[in-house]
Symmetry: C2
Subunit: 334 residues, 2 copies
């Protein structure tokens, strides 16, 4: 494992200490618990947005805590759900009377713990609503969207809901926008290599030399097409074909695009992929409002990528275009 590590059992704590030390004006942790991560710049009266999930996916999840995005994050071990107690502590910390929206990915442990935290919050008269993101079209067939895993597309849900909350809209409205973003986003991923969870010390799965797996999840969940590594254009062709057919995205639609690296793939290669994405969308008569290329949801050093499309309307465009300022993502008003 060619990584910069100290003791593997301290990995998550040290990572969070490093983030808080780098961005002390932006974020802090509460109650002395490094896994309860909140914004350092509270906005009085604003709806709070909390997320949570396993570590190892930066900027997900805690990297998006900041202005115009999220207010708090419960942090789990690498690829592990945080506890309900931690989610509840974050909830209390970010509630300012306007209620809290949970936005998280569709994974069993996260759902169970966020449900428990929601019940604990209810007992303290904090109103909590939930939006569960499941954008990975490879993880379940059309018609069974509710079974789909949450992957990089959750970035768009955070961005839209975060901007909506920043304009001081009420909880129901923030949830409506989050749900609309979820309903309108589709993602497909491809993996070339596994990654290593530091405490385990070896790859949790293998992909042979010269092979790739289209549709693989960010924890190595099985994909839909394992086979020889193909050209960038052919990989994009396949991935985007599944995405376009699924919603479906049609001529005249307007979209935002996210070409996301999983950690070990160079930015150069992501732009080579984006070139083909752009050509296909042009050919299909789909207009592009804005493009994001970079690392938005990773699996440490895993080589691979994902493509997400978000179908836009006027209100989604308005919220997507607003500025944001978080430790791992900044956007000037578009």
């Amino acid at each position: 494992m060619k990584r910069f590590l100290n003791k593997p059992e301290n990995y998550v704590d040290e990572m969070i200490e490093g983030i808080v030390a780098a961005h002390p004006k932006d974020v802090k942790y509460i109650n002395g618990d490094l896994r309860c991560f909140v914004t350092a710049r509270e906005k009085p009266g604003k709806v709070g947005i909390a997320t949570g999930g396993g570590s190892g996916h930066l900027p997900l999840f805690l990297g998006y805590v900041g202005d115009g995005m999220l207010d708090g994050c419960a942090v789990g071990g690498v690829f592990q759900s945080p506890s309900a107690d931690q989610m509840f502590e974050v909830t209390k910390a970010i509630d300012d009377g306007a209620g809290v929206l949970y936005i998280y990915g569709n994974y069993g442990g996260d759902i169970m713990n966020f449900d428990m935290a929601s019940e604990m919050a209810e007992m303290e008269d904090i109103t909590v609503l939930q939006t569960v993101a499941g954008d990975d079209v490879a993880s379940s067939i059309k018609g069974e969207e509710s079974k789909r895993r949450g992957v990089a597309g959750i970035f768009f849900v955070y961005k839209i809901a975060g901007a909506c909350a920043a304009t001081m809209k009420p909880l129901e409205e923030v949830k409506r926008l989050a749900d609309k973003a979820c309903a309108n986003v589709r993602t497909m991923g491809v993996a070339l290599t596994p990654c290593i969870v530091p405490e385990i010390g070896k790859p949790t799965f293998t992909i042979e030399d010269g092979q790739m797996e289209i549709g693989m999840g960010i924890h190595g969940e099985p994909g839909i097409n394992k086979g020889p590594l193909q050209s960038a254009d052919e990989v994009v062709n396949q991935m985007l074909g599944h995405i376009l057919a699924d919603l479906p995205f049609e001529k005249g639609d307007e979209v935002a695009v996210l070409v996301n690296g999983l950690g070990g793939t160079p930015k150069e290669d992501l732009y080579v992929m984006h070139r083909k994405v752009s050509q296909i969308l042009n050919g299909a008569g789909i207009r592009v409002f804005h493009v994001y290329v970079g690392e938005y949801a990773t699996a440490m050093e895993m080589a691979g990528a994902s493509i997400s499309l978000l179908k836009l309307d006027e209100e989604l465009k308005t919220y997507l275009a607003m500025s944001a300022n978080t430790p791992l993502f900044s956007q000037v008003q578009l």
Copy 2:
């Protein structure tokens, strides 16, 4: 090579096409030459800043063309200098009568070609000044700073000079600030793996399993300490020790910090490293004005990192704090 590529000989062109397609409101190329890359939002009367260098280092170099940073970039093949003609074309495109500053890294090919471009510009009555960045303390001993390679610290030079030019200062003043940033920045890198130049198709050097090389350059230039991979804390200790001793940075100084990933190293690991950087600076009584952690100067999929410190004074802080908006770097006013 587990990468998303098409024909290797088209790699740079396709990468640039992907960038221009992703950021059409921000950047464009001129004269039909994909290697002559300029901002799409010219500012009348502003000093132009041009850079150039080999591909394979995104966000360097072209990723910093945009508001508050650079105005143009001549793009070479992977790890190759662009031509003097391309640099000259960029120079003409971005000059608006206020003159042009070249800022680039200290590599032989770049120096030769920028010198030639500067002479060509002079013949057309365009005033050109030059700042050559050499921040890598591993590449030459103290006292011979002019022999040092330019690495990730050039980000600070772009940021400072770009902000200065954005405030409509004259060419001499922009150059003074660029030179001051150069004089005040120090960097040390460490590599764990090589990378593969697509047209070559195999690693250009090797680092054995379990080994690392402190001080290695971003093209694989030899470092100062090749040996067994050590803990993150120990690696940071060594790197920062060289940096602090070199300027030297002393108690009471105020600095900006850049912990830069070379491409294949997870953001989590960079933050683990930053934790130790923060502890050492605290212990040394050095104040931290702002911290950047992420990928600012890479070598495609190379695993490794670098640490840069920029010694600040009031005017450097003012320019560092200003907002910037480029395809691969955005900053809200600090």
